[in-house]
């Protein structure tokens, strides 16, 4: 009756000693300053172009820009709809007296997570999880594990739990490093800035009935929660790939290609509604919270969350089935 806790403990220890986590934190430590610098530069450019620091003027300018684009007759129909919706939203921010893009560490975390959720952040889950089984298989240590009196299902579930915890650790490090690096540049504030949530799109109009203000830290918690959900699903896909792949490289390559396919489809064929059945196009969950256009036309948050959950569960089920009858 070995406590399952110790199996998870073993797996977490291996994960840490394998230095996968160190690689991820190292990557974040290199890339976050890069993003901070990029955002800083972009802010400077906008500021120079607008010639002002007043966010009200920026927002009014943005609305005017959108109106101009709407006047252009050759705009695709779905773009038209979303520009209309977007302007409604910007007017709501103006009416509430809230700067949606107020600079600060909190704003940086928000934009980092919004930009990273569909590809960049899940990639870390892929890095951490890709060799969790295939690595043991190719090194022969799977034999050591499977000949222990613990039961294969419990062992596999311990690996999943360790992977899930490591996804949590990745998000922790993103929050810590993101704050520490962007703070000195943009200021550490912004966590109390009100954010508008609850936009609901119905047809061509934006339903503002459910809109309310929440502080930024709450918004960030929700956003990171969605990101964690998306990355957990990717971790489950990775677990499946690792359980069937003969080599870690093959599993990781396949996983990366699948993630990339989602991003490419969302950019390249956002009008093709069928693309939503490619599970990785659903990973971008940030727009639903911000009330922005979804990555694929016709996607709803319920579908995205549900479909991701279903594919994650399927991947987990298949991986467990495979492992309980694996030969080592």
């Amino acid at each position: 009756m070995t406590a399952w806790f110790w199996l998870v403990y073993n797996e977490v220890e291996k994960l840490l000693f394998r230095r996968r986590m160190a690689v991820v934190v190292g990557l974040l430590a290199v890339l976050i300053p890069l993003f901070v610098y990029a955002q800083h530069k972009q802010l400077e450019t906008v500021r120079a172009r607008m010639g002002t620091d007043d966010w009200r003027l920026w927002t009014a300018q943005l609305i005017a820009d959108n109106e101009n684009r709407l006047a252009a007759s050759r705009l695709p129909e779905e773009w038209r709809r979303w520009l209309l919706v977007r302007n409604e939203q910007l007017r709501a921010y103006l009416a509430a007296g809230v700067d949606p893009n107020a600079p600060g560490a909190a704003g940086f975390l928000r934009s980092f997570m919004e930009a990273g959720m569909p590809l960049f952040v899940p990639l870390f889950a892929l890095i951490v999880g890709s060799d969790i089984i295939s690595g043991e298989r190719s090194a022969g240590t799977l034999r050591l594990l499977l000949s222990q009196p613990v039961g294969r299902l419990r062992l596999a579930l311990a690996k999943v739990a360790a992977l899930w915890l490591s996804v949590g650790m990745i998000f922790f490090w993103i929050a810590v490093l993101g704050t520490l690096v962007s703070g000195p540049v943009f200021g550490f504030g912004g966590f109390q800035v009100p954010q508008l949530v609850g936009f609901r799109v119905s047809g061509e109009t934006l339903d503002l009935g459910g809109v309310r203000l929440i502080p930024m830290w709450q918004y960030l918690l929700m956003l990171f929660g969605l990101g964690w959900y998306a990355s957990t699903v990717v971790a489950l896909w990775t677990f499946f790939a690792s359980s069937v792949a003969r080599s870690t490289a093959a599993g990781m390559g396949a996983g990366f290609a699948f993630l990339l396919a989602g991003s490419v489809l969302a950019n390249y064929a956002s009008g093709w509604r069928g693309a939503k059945w490619v599970a990785s196009t659903n990973l971008d969950l940030g727009p639903y919270l911000a009330g922005l256009r979804p990555p694929i036309e016709g996607l709803t948050p319920a579908f995205a969350l549900g479909y991701l959950g279903a594919t994650g569960a399927l991947a987990l089920g298949l991986a467990l089935w495979r492992l309980t009858r694996d030969v080592a």
């Binding site: 070995t2 050591l144 000949s147």
Partner: protein, 342 residues
Amino acid sequence: MSGEKASDEAAPEGAATGGAGFGRAEAPALAVRGLTVRAGGRVLVEDVTFAVRPGEVFALLGPNGAGKTTTLRAVLGLIRPAAGEVWLAGRKLWPGRPSALRAVGGLIEAPAVYPYLTGWDHLKHVGRMRGVFDPAALYALAERTGIAPHLSARVATYSLGMRQRLALALALVGRPAVVVLDEPMNGLDPPGMRDFRMFIRELAAEGQAVLFSSHLLAEVEAVADRIGLMAGGRLLWSRSVADVRRAAGRRYRMVLRPPEAGEALLRAAPEVVRLEPVPDAPPGTVWVWLADETKAPALIARLAGAGVEVRAAAPDVPPLQELFFAWTEADGQAYPRGRAER
């Protein structure tokens, strides 16, 4: 499933091999019955039955591809048999529960260890999975296998021999009733082999059953109590080492004149099991295997009576290695499935 039922079912195996009674203490540490393993449409192991008592060293001997490793893997719970049963210390492993694996520890093929962990990490890892949390008990195993001085180093820095010692220590965590070792002496230098033999005998002396595989008869002869000969996925026979030696002793070398008449007579004689010309010897020099050595004088007398001069007749014990080739080649041809395995 109750332990009582388990020992009852396992007991006949003990009775068959050791003539022991039905008492729990006499139950074999390991009982394999009718084990059949298939993979990819091929039969790797077919209907293998044997048992190992506590304190006994049992060696599976056979050429590569005979099914030895597959059998050991089934005993370690690594491969699911298509048919048959594996009992470990009175608990059923196949088909049954993984908790039966508590009674077995072993290593298959190359020592499988994590290069990024230290030796001590490994012992703690396996200890957690086997419910052994006492550091002193784990350290004692490291001392016993001689890896204790290197425990704090990462395994990436270990030599092959050190990895093997570590893997052995891991196999012994929790003092399993059955220790399974696959080709344990591969890659050991002569002093290492001698140490290892002593180590196996020590385990047996302390009441652990040892099951190991080898394709080297000399190795098996030096350490095993009993030998099971495998070829083509089947266990051809299992006998005590003493019996094997006795069987080998029934070979005679004879020099006959005239050769043709003598060989014809011997071939027709009922007490002759096998007849072969001795290679690189003058005509008429043959090896004669007798079913019963007490029949030798009568046979020689009959040859003399038929006008065949027996110039020499002496027991000629072949090196076991030679016997091994004869056994496995003859039987391998009878079961060509084994050829397909590799």
